[in-house]
Symmetry: C2
Subunit: 334 residues, 2 copies
């Protein structure tokens, strides 16, 4: 195979199959608590699926810089558990009734237990990371978590309000791109001994790849939320607008729309419902201003920037896989 | 002053005055976030008072083993912030409307923001602790937090049910004694370089003091909850029974009471109210079986065990202060 060719989905999953299976076992091990209800909630959440995209990022990053350490399995599980912890608390905040097509954990166990289950998942992630005895890993994970929590609070402050692109990019960085970035950085960090004084080779490039990929991923997520049908995403369509969240296509239309267009969007955001303006009317506005295309073009530009970020990485099957992922992320339909 | 004499409150506060003031400044510094609402909630909670007993423990412990490091100020603030984080999440869980005589944070900002504010306080505590570059500190704090979270979940499982003494002691260890223990241990840990391979001198003795003192403290807290008037504690009287929680005196009466006594207690716990059985009737049962005295005697035994734990510590004003604290804790009326 030429080192310049792009991998296929099958090739990428073949590369990672054993590592991903090891990460699934690691979850079972890590979600074991002396308190039964913790184990129940943790296993429900982790078995609940999810695309495991963050562990995949970490594995590809680690392998691309030649890391064979078992730490990649443990930390692959850590980034997914951390992600799961944020979802549990977010579902309480959003009063979500479903997640990934199943009842959300707060619906099943109630808010009170889920506040604590989220706390427990955070602590379990940190315990596992702490066992690596590497301060750099802890620096990345703890400041990441704080940035995500701050992002969720910022998001709440802005619900129902119009925001600009800069605010949008800050929010999606904190919500998604920052964990993608750290997952990639961790791959580089565990490839060198914990006592390495300077940044690990390629840590910055891999982190930049993760940031760009994360932004592309979230922009696509937000477009799919606007356009997909109820039964595809496992949640109500246009749930962002129903929660008062303006995403990239909506912000684009607001900046270019007529007075009536702006008013229609403003009404939905303020009402947090389609009672006065129909979902189809919003889609018509977004199409008329080519706002959905603008958002997808932006996502594709970040996907391309992700590929460019790792141009200097040595050639390998893992690099080829990393070059494939951005295209996968921007062409998915769920 | 003889090294055997017991200190007075004034002497103890004089010893710690400067350090406690430095810790208050450290709070202001640590609760500063780029997200305004975080700073607002954090400052409301931390300015809300509290007895600062955990930082006091840490300071006395550190000083008693000769530690002059500024780490005692930073970690003194950390243990109080960690305590505050648990209170924010507990208030959401208990649907508390007041805390320390003021509206609770969830009443003021709503549950959603307080879930995140609690998360933020946890992360901020860990960030500060992480800056010490000492794995032992992080081991203690993270496993402590996980034990506390598990304890709160265990408590929820047992609400409205009868529990035995063993279960009660496990719950109050997790709720209170475990953080007292870690606060004391941290004092010993920062007195030695981070690379010290074995436990710091006196770490075990000081930890044991903290555990015993914490148990005494919580038993007294639970007795005061049963007996004090509304306006003394800043919360409704007998709030534990109203939440379905059986504490030591109640467990004692359940084990010794007549069938009618047991039934009366069982009714209040199951109803989580005094609608069918009056508060005064419960107090009469507890008095008839000398259950409140039994609980206070138990607290005093743990207070004495705390003093015994540090018998081998070198004599100093700080040791004298530590010998004074258990008596203060068991004779307080709020």
């Amino acid at each position: 195979m030429s080192s310049l060719s792009i991998a296929t989905a099958t090739e990428v999953f073949d590369l990672l199959r054993d590592d991903l299976a090891a990460i699934e076992s690691e979850f079972a091990h890590q979600s074991d608590s002396p308190v039964e209800v913790v184990t129940d909630i943790a296993q429900y959440l982790i078995a609940g699926g999810g695309k495991r995209i963050r562990p995949m990022m970490l594995l590809l990053s680690a392998r691309a810089v030649g890391c064979e350490s078992e730490a990649r399995i443990r930390l692959g599980a850590v980034v997914e558990m951390l992600h799961t912890a944020t979802l549990v608390h977010d579902d309480i905040i959003d009063e979500a009734s479903t997640r990934r097509g199943r009842p959300s954990s707060n619906t099943t166990w109630g808010n009170a237990k889920c506040v604590l289950a989220g706390d427990w998942l955070y602590m379990q992630s940190f315990q596992t990371a702490l066992a690596e005895r590497n301060f750099r890993i802890l620096d990345l994970l703890i400041s990441l978590t704080q940035q995500m929590v701050e992002g969720e609070l910022l998001q709440m402050e802005k619900l129902g309000h119009l925001i600009n692109e800069e605010e949008y990019f800050d929010l999606i960085y904190r919500k998604t791109a920052c964990l993608f970035k750290v997952s990639m950085q961790l791959g580089a960090v565990i490839a060198v001994p914990p006592t390495t004084p300077n940044a690990a080779p390629f840590e910055e490039a891999l982190g930049e790849y993760g940031r760009n990929l994360g932004l592309a991923f979230q922009i696509v997520d937000d477009v799919l939320d606007l356009t997909a049908q109820d039964d595809v995403l496992g949640k109500p369509t246009a749930s962002d607008l129903r929660e008062g969240k303006a995403t990239l296509a909506v912000i684009h239309a607001l900046e270019r729309g007529t007075g009536a267009d702006r008013e229609a969007i403003r009404t939905v955001l303020a009402d947090r419902s389609f009672a006065r303006v129909a979902h189809a009317d919003i889609l018509e506005i977004l199409q008329r201003h080519e706002s959905l295309a603008y958002a997808m073009d932006t996502a594709c530009a970040y996907a391309e920037a992700a590929r460019q970020s790792i141009a200097d990485l040595p050639e390998s099957d893992y690099k080829r896989a990393l070059l494939w992922v951005p295209g996968f992320v921007t062409t998915r339909d769920r």
